[in-house]
Amino acid sequence: MRPRFVHLLRAEWTKLRTVRGWTIAMLAAGLVTVALGLLIASGDRASCGDGASEEACPAAPVGPGGEAVQDRFYFVHQPLTGDGTITVRLTSLTGIITYPPPGHDEIVDDVVPWAKAGIMIKDGAEPGSAYAAVMMTGDHGARMQHDFTHDTAGLPGGASNTSPRWLRLTRSGDTLTGEESADGVRWTGIGTIRLKGLPDEVQVGLFVASPCDLTVNSSLGGSSEECRFTQATAVFDRVDVQGSTPLGTWSGIEVADDDGQTDWEKDHRPNGLVRSGDTFTVSGAGDIAPLGDSGAAPIERTLTGTFAGLIIVIVVAAMFVTTEYRRGLIRYTLLASPRRGRALAAKAAVIGVVTFVVGLAATAVTLPLGTRILRANGINILPVSQLTELRVVVGTAALLAVAAVSALALGILFRRSIAAVTVGVAVVVLPYFLAVGAVLPESAAAWLMRVTPAAGFAIQQSIPAYPQVIGHYAPSTGYYPLAPWLGFAVLCGYAAVVLGLAALRLRRSDA
């Protein structure tokens, strides 16, 4: 009589459950993930304010999509009720960068690549509110952006006195259309977007922002970042607002200003509006963009204990089968299930499911507890959607499970636990150590996290890297080169290959 698959599962489950060392080790894998995560979280502290009066850092504003954002710029605005259009001509975009490399000794006239100047329709002047904007940038041509994370490219080029650029933004209900033109006659569309729930009365106007100039000093073993103040100045004329209500008066506001002023702003040119006739000269600093990990922690910061659990799981999964080879039990296993593929499937299913359950219990406890500890220590958590949080929690458990199944397959391939464990650790944990620990230079680190099974760690990344924001995107700062599911798919691909090889070996060779 051929055994049913459920009997094979039961047999494998009994084998796993009744070895006391393995049960203890699996529990330890879960506990170590929790304990390390919480330990690292409790060692993390942050406070703002000057020396004597330490206070909690203010939380960043949250954008319409639920993500933390920076929303600091100079806004020359007036109310607009109902539908309308704003058209401007931009004749100049200049700026300063304070103390850039290599000398770090002078203020130079230059604009940073993502300095922004243009027109905007925004749901009030509160930081984090919904908006749509058409703009010229320092190096990236004309763009249309909305709600912080969305960016559409228009034509490249810049704006100057000899070749000015015209920008137009039209509101019609929830729909906003951005256009640009070289002469104000022939218009090219950049994008049409919808802002759901935009109220009847919005603020319309001119804006200028200039993100700080980032320099990354990366050396092996760690890196330091420095972001220096920059300011952009744009000259607008032919400003025209068409709407159902009569044209109001312009007023200027520094959105999300922190009251502090740099020496440049005090001594040379403060952010603001200088108007002479129909010409508006607007200076601004800051950025309108999603916030990276500066000053706040992503949720996966609490799951850094995963790699410790991973080593234990690899050891147990490899032993789960190599012990059978050592003791000769494998012959009985194969005798009981002559179709060897099914025996392998039962073994893989049991170790995979058990690891997944243990991993899920660990991550589901660690993430909420860890974020609570971080918040209590004054560290703001970058908000993410519940779906993303679920992906990080479940994905980490799946990462452990897939690694366990791979280790099992390696155990069948090599039949010796020491080889299986060494290879398992070498291809999953070692690349993570070399890349995240910045042992290797960043280019090599990114390459490792692309082609090795350690790519699966990408499933933990909750905040994406945005091309329209200059940041220090490297494995050592928590940004992986592959998208979360793609990275996980790389790991699964490797698992499938070793599982296939293991099935082949199991069928072809004597036990």
């Binding site: 050891v315 010796r416 070498a426 042992v439």
Partner: protein, 258 residues
């Protein structure tokens, strides 16, 4: 003791894995160090890189191979039951462990030396092309330079100590998979924790006591004063770990039935 040494040397010599692992130690040390040297650039003076350390990066990975080789020398005897024969033939168990340690030291020292010197020579040819020139404050890598010599000789010594540490742990733990799991955790987990923990005092403490972080300070030739522990003191910490592991292994070997 001569008999023990002879027996252990024969076991090590005739195990098929030994040759491959030693070859891999050399290859990984040279290739990984060279690859790193090829990728790191020094665009201007004061770029803050430690050229010697870059050219010794491969040790971070080849230490795992050395650890596997060492763990195999004892745990494969437990796997096959050979250990009972060994103990019957050589009843003084401490001598078995001592003989294993001595026999292991020779090939590790040789492979480590070839790998490390090869890495420095290969990397030393590449680095000037990446901006590590005298104009940027970097002389050619030379073993005549005191701190470079210390880093190179220290790296070889480091590999030997890691091998003995692994031997001690594998003797105490017996099971091959568990032993290598424990050793690799010790080598790689503690440095990652030290990196991720942001409390500076904890970080400093972990870097002072972790066998890898403390031991590898021997490779640092620039900014030595800012290290959490001085190079030779760091090597001392690793030697302490190794001594403790060997003593523990010896104790377990004597106390337990094989």
């Amino acid at each position: 003791m001569r008999c023990e040494l002879h027996a252990e040397w024969t076991k090590l010599r005739t195990s098929p894995a030994t040759g491959w692992l030693l070859l891999a130690v050399v290859a990984v040390t040279v290739v990984l160090s060279t690859a790193t040297a090829a990728l790191v650039t020094c665009p201007s003076s004061g770029c803050g890189h430690d050229a010697t350390r870059i050219s010794l990066t491969g040790v971070q990975v080849s230490q795992a191979l050395v650890a596997v080789l060492a763990a195999l020398t004892i745990s494969s005897e437990h796997t096959t039951g050979m250990i009972r024969t060994s103990i019957t033939a050589m009843p003084r168990r401490v001598r078995i462990l001592a003989a294993k340690a001595i026999v292991l030291t020779g090939p590790t020292l040789a492979a480590g030396a070839i790998g490390v010197v090869g890495a420095v020579v290969a990397a030393g040819r590449l680095l000037p092309g990446n901006g590590f020139t005298s104009a940027h404050g970097y002389g050619p890598l030379s073993l005549a330079d005191g701190s470079t010599l210390r880093a190179v000789a220290g790296s070889v010594l480091y590999l030997v100590l890691i091998a003995l540490l692994s031997l001690g742990i594998a003797t105490a733990v017996r099971d091959a998979a568990t032993a290598i799991g424990v050793v690799l955790s010790l080598l790689y987990l503690v440095p990652i924790i030290a990196l991720l923990i942001s409390d500076p005092q904890w970080q400093r403490l972990l870097r002072q006591i972790s066998p890898t972080n403390a031991g590898l300070t021997i490779q640092v030739t620039t900014d030595v004063s800012s290290l959490p522990i001085s190079p030779w003191a760091g090597m001392g910490v690793l030697a302490g770990w190794t001594a403790a592991a060997l003593l523990g292994g010896n104790l377990m070997l004597r106390r337990r039935d094989a």
